[in-house]
């Protein structure tokens, strides 16, 4: 038939795969307030409500991987580059060999029932076929009660995502960006919290207020670089905030796997293992296994390392492909540029050099805008009066500038996070993002970065890593909550006078399991935490 073995004879240049149930959104995790029967940890993995909230995709497999461990001890506070690299190496060794993460695995049958498997936990392995959209309590072999909910909920993420994308000049949120122009995604304009004078591509346009909030325009012809030299100010001398404080996820649903698990089920040493590390993974069934069960043939002659990887997979996982991982909010989006090959979850150690350079790139943008507001910045931007679009091409030049960002203790606003008053070190950015896991400290409330509670405004707290935590405002040291303080913005020369992101969810969370609010009656699909292409990706047929 003269197609000459041409795969394109059966395909277009665009994918058939649109918004995917494999798109993980968030992983929440915190110690349960319910201590009846002992300590319990709550973990909630949320993902795209595809096909709709409450109905899950039977081609998907979700894993919540859990690795309880001791709290990090800083015997030697080495803040050198060598010390940083040693830290990465230690983490790598720990996740590669010492920790053996257990997991909760969920698949969906054609009747929308969930097969849930608890694998590798000291409290015993077991599995159960359960109804979706119902809160249930399962009993482990050792008698531990485990609460579980699989199904549709309200999207617990409350956030001004368009504001974040405006801050990094992420064009696909605002413009139709062709697949053949990957260079036109993050445009070469300084990242910033404050609008730049003359940044017509991304500055708020009162004539088109919904641009980036559902409205997209055709990407104008280049060049897309910015040639200005100052932040934009209005007639009253106010800066214009790139954020609006509005909740872009209001009224949207997700599908979710929510667990409440006794700590004693997760670890044999609950008094020792006070930190529960958790991350989520989505896997999609391989085409071959959709047809029938076919033994995998490791192509070990050509790809010997694949064989090593395959040996670590059980028979079920070999039928699936890893698509997405989720550990820390913004670890992928802000630090890894959301490249699929960098969706590494706990195994993101190899990103360490990239992480340092990317943080420096963000710092050159965000740093001067922090300083312009009169706040002290943790990034060394040479007192630049305006944000700069600059890449550090070497870790050696990037590291001194980001050292404080990486190593400073992220101060909490008060002591409520540490109800037992224990000697728990404050978290640092370097520990938060590598490895890319949600580390839930069971001796804390689990508020970010000691986990992630539903009510945490984590997007704004993430921005606080660029604040100098040694600085004071009104006699009080900076903290991760500073940018959530309305009074700060009331006093700042800026409009709109709002914290970057909303302070609470559009609907109240529940006080009891499953904690996330009921799904909205509409069958709306939640937007991903990072936008999908305007039309399907070309990397699949």
């Amino acid at each position: 038939m003269a197609d000459h073995n041409d795969p394109n004879a059966v395909n277009s240049i665009f994918s058939d795969i649109e918004v995917s149930a494999a798109d993980l959104y968030d992983i929440f995790g915190f110690p349960s307030d319910d201590r009846d029967g002992g300590e319990k940890v709550v973990i909630a993995l949320t993902f795209a409500a595809v096909p709709i909230a409450g109905t899950l995709d039977s081609d998907l497999l979700y894993r919540i991987r859990i690795a309880p461990d001791r709290r990090i001890q800083r015997n030697e506070d080495d803040q050198s580059l060598a010390g940083l690299l040693r830290y990465f190496d230690d983490v790598k060794k720990k996740y590669a060999s010492t920790l053996k993460p257990a997991e909760v695995r969920v698949t969906i049958d054609p009747n929308n029932r969930a097969m849930v498997k608890f694998i590798g936990f000291p409290g015993g392995a077991f599995s159960k076929l359960i109804d979706t959209n119902t809160s249930l309590t399962l009993q482990s072999p050792g008698g531990h009660p485990i609460k579980i909910y699989v199904g549709g909920r309200d999207d617990a993420f409350f956030n001004d995502l368009p504001g974040f994308f405006r801050s990094i000049n992420y064009a696909p949120q605002f413009y139709h960006v062709p697949h053949t122009m990957p260079e036109a995604r993050e445009l070469p304009i300084p990242k910033t919290f404050l609008e730049l004078e003359g940044n017509d591509l991304f500055n708020y346009d009162p004539k088109n207020p919904m641009l980036g909030r559902g409205v997209k325009l055709d990407l104008p012809p280049g060049p897309w670089s910015w040639t200005g030299n100052k932040f934009k100010k209005d007639a009253d001398g106010n800066f214009r905030f790139v954020y609006s404080g509005q909740d872009a996820q209001a009224g949207k649903n997700v599908n979710a796997i929510i667990l409440e698990i006794p700590l004693a089920y997760l670890t044999d040493a609950p008094n020792d293992h006070r930190v529960v590390n958790a991350w989520g993974e989505s896997w999609v069934r391989k085409a071959a296994h959709k047809v029938e069960s076919i033994p995998d043939e490791p192509f070990w002659i050509e790809r010997p390392f694949d064989l090593v990887g395959l040996l670590e997979l059980d028979d079920e996982l070999k039928q699936y492909k890893l698509v997405d991982t989720d550990g820390q909010a913004f670890a992928d989006a802000a630090l890894s540029e959301r490249e699929d090959s960098r969706q590494m979850g706990a195994n993101n150690f190899w990103l360490a050099p990239h992480f340092v350079k990317r943080l420096a790139h963000l710092g050159w943008g965000f740093g001067p805008s922090v300083s312009a507001l009169g706040l002290k910045c943790s990034f060394d931007h040479d007192n630049s009066p305006v944000s700069v679009h600059r890449f550090e091409h070497s870790v050696l030049t990037a590291f001194p500038r980001v050292k404080k960002v990486l190593f400073q203790d992220l101060r909490m606003p008060d002591d409520t996070w540490n109800p037992k008053g224990l000697d728990i070190p404050l978290r640092r950015a370097v520990e938060i993002f590598i490895p890319n896991v949600n580390s839930i400290d069971m001796d804390t409330t689990g508020t970010w970065p000691f986990g992630r509670r539903l009510e945490d405004q984590v997007a704004t707290r993430f921005l606080s890593v660029f604040l100098d935590m040694d600085a004071e405002i009104k006699g009080k040291k900076y903290s991760v909550e500073l940018l959530n303080d309305q009074s700060l913005w009331d006093a700042a020369p800026i409009v709109p006078k709002t914290p970057p992101n909303p302070l609470k969810n559009d609907v109240p969370f529940l006080k009891a399991f499953p904690y996330l609010a009921e799904p909205h009656p509409e069958t709306a699909t939640a937007s991903p935490t990072y936008p999908s292409p305007t039309y399907p990706s070309p990397t699949a047929p």
């Binding site: 000459h4 795969p7 795969i17 053949t180 990407l219 959709k290 029938e292 039309y535 699949a540």
Partner: protein, 403 residues
Amino acid sequence: MSLAAAAAPRAAAPPATDFARELRRIDARIAAGEGALAPPTDTERVTTYVDALYRRALLTGDLDALERVEPAIDRGIGLITHPGDLHLLKARLAFHLHRLADVGRILEAVAPARTCPEGQTLLADLDFQQGRYAAAAARYEAVIAKDRHWGALAGLAYHHFKMGDPAHADRLYAEAEDELTAKEMRAFAWLELQRGVLDLAHGRRDETAAHYARAERAYSGWWVADEHCAELLAVAGDLEAATELYERLISQVSRPELQQLLGQLHVLMERPGRARSRFVQARAGYLDSVRRGGVHYIHHLADFYCEAIANGARAVEWARRDVALRENFITQAALAWALMRGGAPAEAAEWMDRALASGVQDAHLFAQAAAVYGAAGEAEKAASCLDRSRQFNPRLSRFHVHR
């Protein structure tokens, strides 16, 4: 799936097939995109609409419709600021219609279309079609090193298939399959068909049948799978079943080469009247395409005047035009075959020398070479080629589908 099952008539009221469902989705997209090519519009609307038109033409195998997509692509290009995606689509369309010079011209002129992985894979396909086999392999490998796209793996597999390493080719096809998910079942089915073709080229008919059956299970209702099954039935000697299946295909898909294949089956079944009728329809279809400026069927016309309605002079004429479009082992061998049929065995042998110099190891090619060299009086070369043909496929059939 047994061969008999492949030809069995379908139930009167079958459930919607994967093919039917996909076609319905595309039609819905086309309906939703009506008006996309008139201002005011935007990149997403234009691209989605044009892509849907293109997909529909490909899926239904309607080359006339595919030709009609091109003006829509051109209109789209004129409407949007950054038409790189549409240029890539246009290059793909040109490749599908064998307008290889256009492919090269488009990719040369449009950097975004050329530099993306899809563009690089298309350039590798172009290299192969233009006889630059080593360059094609190197380019596929470069794409794979960066992005293990299944299409590049399949392209490299085809290269190894033709260069005589079927085991490596099959492994690469399997690797390509391994890259696909349950959301890409048509691509998986297509790869299974290629693995079947690979087996068939080496006489492994049962293995071929197994691959074709998996293709059908992966993506049901696809005429392309039926067309492969029809060939297999014919090669296996079940000419009645093959005829029935080709007739059904012709009722679904308007492709003149299907008419020619059915005509050739009638020849094998000694039904000259029916064969003639099919050949006339095939010729009309080919020439209609050529009259519209198409080059897709030039190769088929060369073959037609050799195997269907014999006319050596015309066969040579079309084969020379084919070589001028793309000189590779396929067109070189086709010209050699036409020259032999046209009574010029010495020149035929020269062209066959060129075809074999490509390094391609293929039973059908060696069988043709044996005949050409025999006609040219080069008995030793003819015997050697015949041996090699049998070595690659001891069960080579007289029925052959050009792929």
